[in-house]
């Protein structure tokens, strides 16, 4: 690890440089945590390697390894070839070879912070990225803010990550609960009508709360009524006690605000109880899974068929960026990448490009380079990294469980690409912390 020792001489030098440099580049001249030395830069990939999301974490890690390979000039270059910004040339980042270390979040906030801290302090990681849960993302984002390194979030869908818990050093490419609601609600209203009564089962933690609020607001705006919302413990494995009363509740739609193993079990239980075979209020009973993960949805088997949800990205997208990434990933590993893999790969390229454009690894310079950055060619169409909250704005996919899959990967089909304008919201939106929510100021550490 390269520790930064602040001496009086270095302080004076940095201060003089700061005075002599235009404000926009001032940050670059100051010393910062883990300034790369010796021709290599270390990135920290913090993913769940054990625990229930270990498979998703493994896919993230594959994507990171592929990104590092491409940044260092290996392989076919993947999305570097389609990325609208052309600073990445296969010579690492700012000419430094990219190396990486990994940590295990275990999908636990404390463990995720500990592994990130270890990578920053012991391994000299200058950027932390990854994760498969909003609670760990928020925990690690806070740590990175304190430590003075950039956090490029992995799979995190809670509004809070770039809402009330937003941080100047943190950036999210993945979409969020509000966007899922805004994209999904019109499709649901179109398919199932506007006179619907919804019963929500919601995972009892930050992601579940914000997703439930988002879906309820979006569907109610189109005429649906939310008749109940039951919070289910994250550790639940059998949801029969929660699902059994649904049919007799007056509802005709069940919304499962669950992810991963919770989603697999609650959806399996709901189908077991015959919800989809029954009628309520004179209509077919329907089930909705607002956030889909193709990787995890495999666990629910045939139960996902016909069920609507949303996703950040899907391997079947026809744009050049997606095709390039699927080709690279599929050739190397033998199967298509998940949405978690995609967002992690993209975040790595975006970080590397921001450093190149800033001309510095200083986190404050990287923040300035990413804020308001508009790009294309990374699989989601034209995208903006909004400066106000560090949230990416791009098209959102509405998907449906495929009725006749042709392979084990062919589980979801894209039914609508919701345009970015439909999922945008003001940065002081009440669901995102309101006017009080603030990024704070960038922390270069050291």
């Amino acid at each position: 690890m390269s520790r930064i020792e602040l001496s009086r001489r270095s302080m004076l030098k940095a201060g003089a440089a700061g005075l002599a440099t235009p404000t926009v580049f001032a940050g670059a001249a100051w010393s910062f945590t883990n300034d790369p030395q010796g021709g290599a830069v270390t990135l920290g990939f913090n993913v769940p390697q054990t625990g229930p999301y270990a498979d998703e974490g493994a896919d993230e890690l594959r994507a990171y390894e592929l990104a590092v390979e491409h940044l260092n000039g290996g392989g076919d270059g993947g999305m570097i070839n389609t990325f609208s910004s052309k600073t990445l040339d296969g010579a690492g980042i700012l000419g430094q070879k990219v190396e990486f270390v990994t940590g295990d979040t275990q999908t636990k906030g404390d463990a995720a912070r500990a592994s990130a801290k270890s990578m920053i302090e012991k391994d000299g990681a200058i950027m932390i990225t990854g994760g498969s849960s909003s609670s760990t993302a928020i925990a690690v984002q806070g740590l990175c803010q304190e430590a003075g390194v950039i956090f490029m979030a992995g799979l995190t869908h809670s509004n809070d990550t770039t809402g009330k818990d937003r941080k100047a050093n943190g950036f999210r490419h993945f979409f969020n609960g509000y966007m899922s609601g805004a994209a999904l609600a019109p499709v649901l209203a179109n398919r199932y009508g506007t006179d619907r009564k919804a019963y929500h089962l919601t995972a009892d933690y930050t992601w579940g709360w914000t997703q439930q609020e988002s879906i309820a607001n979006s569907t109610e705006a189109l005429g649906w009524e939310t008749i109940n919302n039951v919070l289910t413990p994250l550790a639940s494995t059998d949801f029969s006690a929660y699902i059994a009363p649904v049919l007799n509740s007056g509802a005709d739609v069940l919304v499962l605000n669950h992810y991963g193993g919770n989603m697999v079990n609650s959806l399996t239980n709901a189908v077991q109880f015959g919800l989809r075979d029954r009628e309520a209020n004179g209509k077919n009973f329907e089930i909705v899974v607002p956030l889909y993960s193709r990787l995890m949805a495999r666990g629910a088997g045939e139960n996902v068929k016909g069920i609507f949800g949303s996703t950040n990205w899907h391997w079947s997208l026809p744009d050049d960026g997606s095709k390039a990434f699927v080709r690279s990933f599929g050739t190397k590993y033998g199967f298509p990448p998940s949405q978690a893999a995609h967002t992690c790969y993209v975040q790595t390229l975006l970080y590397a490009d921001a450093v190149n454009r800033a001309g510095s690894f200083n986190p404050c310079a990287v923040v300035e380079a990413l804020e308001g950055f508009q790009f294309d060619g990374l699989g989601n169409g034209p995208t903006l990294y909004r400066a106000d909250d560090h949230q990416c704005f791009k098209d959102v996919l509405v998907v449906q469980g495929k009725e006749n899959p042709t392979s084990e990967f062919d589980i979801l089909e894209v039914v609508e690409v919701t345009p970015r304008a439909q999922v945008e919201y003001p940065s002081d939106h009440p669901m995102f912390g309101g006017p009080e929510a603030s990024l704070g100021s960038c922390n270069p550490g050291a």
């Binding site: 193993g261 399996t268 629910a300």
Partner: protein
């Protein structure tokens, strides 16, 4: 009234799993005096017997379909299970469809073997060690078994559905004069309950009405005296460990259509099953069964909207609250025997 019946029904299938696991735990504790924290892992291994059989029945050969493309744009390789080739598409598909019930036949010998190997290979070395040592070594074993399964099958749940003719749910409410949809209950959960009752009955009958069972019961009451009669009681207790493993394994096999199995599923049941054993009374087989069903039903009631809004979080602590109340009022548990775990 309909909500009451609904939650009783819901509690029965979960109670069935608790009862089966607790029954095995009590058998092992009653015969060998070992506190087996690897028992949840045996439940999980049983479930993965079903996954294994499903995988074997789905072993396929590939043909290339030029008209379709895979995710890389190459001609699609279409997989056709060998059983469909050997027995025809319809019969082959039916065999695959019934993979979970078929897995029972595979799981019984496998689980007995796993139990015997576990007992002879590791646990017998800890008979004379303190219970804390037994707990540590069996808990460690459980983690090892989990990781082995995760290595081969990954961390994600694996769909293992019930036969399609046994999928779906039955409208119980109509039978009792309630409105349609008031009491809906899945067929497979009913089957699970009946299966659990059959297994519990078989274990009790084996212990009660066979000579082998009589000797085991005698050994549980006074091991030394039975040994002095020239009976190799250790051998019989080893076999009981195998039977207890098979009971846990069968509970796991039949549970797979209820929730897709994953490597961690045993741990989800283990702690609660220990509470069940303690509430039922250490060493009491009827107590384990009674407490299993009782706590399963109580847990189901505690998960209702009414209960969680009246006392937030009650669904997560109800079993432990009941355990505290039972142990305060009946320190040996509901049907505990004097002298067991009291030295």
């Amino acid at each position: 009234m309909d909500a009451l019946l609904l939650q009783i029904l819901n509690g029965l299938d979960k109670g069935s799993a608790y009862a089966l696991i607790a029954l095995g735990l009590t058998l092992i504790f009653g015969t060998l005096g070992v506190v087996n924290f690897a028992h949840g892992a045996l439940f999980m291994i049983g479930a993965f017997c079903a996954v294994f059989i499903q995988g074997v029945l789905n072993l396929s050969y590939e043909t290339v379909d030029e008209t379709q493309k895979d995710f890389l744009g190459n001609p699609l390789k279409v997989k056709t299970p060998h059983v469909e080739n050997w027995f025809g598409p319809e019969t082959g598909a039916a065999i695959i469809d019934w993979s979970v019930p078929l897995a029972i036949l595979f799981a019984i010998p496998v689980m007995i073997a796993v139990g015997v190997i576990m007992e002879r290979g590791l646990i017998k070395h800890f008979y004379k060690r303190p219970h804390a040592d037994q707990i540590l070594v069996t808990f460690g074993l459980a983690i090892v078994l989990q990781e082995v399964i995760k290595y081969f099958y990954g961390a994600n749940p694996i769909p293992t559905p019930a036969p399609s003719s046994l999928a779906g749910a039955f409208d119980f409410g109509v039978l009792f004069g309630f409105d349609p949809n008031a009491i809906i209950y899945p067929y497979w959960r009913m089957i699970y309950f009946v299966f659990a009752i059959a297994i519990i009955g078989a274990v009790f009958a084996f212990l009660q009405f066979t000579t082998y069972g009589m000797v085991v019961r005698a050994g549980m009451a006074d091991r030394e005296t039975v040994s002095m009669l020239g009976i190799n009681i250790d051998k019989r207790f080893t076999m009981m460990f195998g039977i207890a493993a098979a009971v846990a394994g069968l509970a796991g096999v039949m549970y797979t259509p209820i929730n897709p199995p994953n490597y961690h599923m045993g741990m989800d049941f283990l702690v609660l099953s220990f509470v069940v054993v303690v509430v039922g009374g250490m060493g009491s087989l009827p107590g384990a069964v009674l407490a299993g069903f009782l706590l399963g039903i109580l847990e189901s009631f505690a998960s209702t909207t009414w209960a969680t809004t009246t006392i937030p979080g009650i669904n997560q602590v109800i079993i432990y609250v009941v355990a505290i109340i039972v142990l305060l009022t009946r320190p040996r548990g509901l049907m505990g025997r004097k002298g067991v775990m009291e030295e």
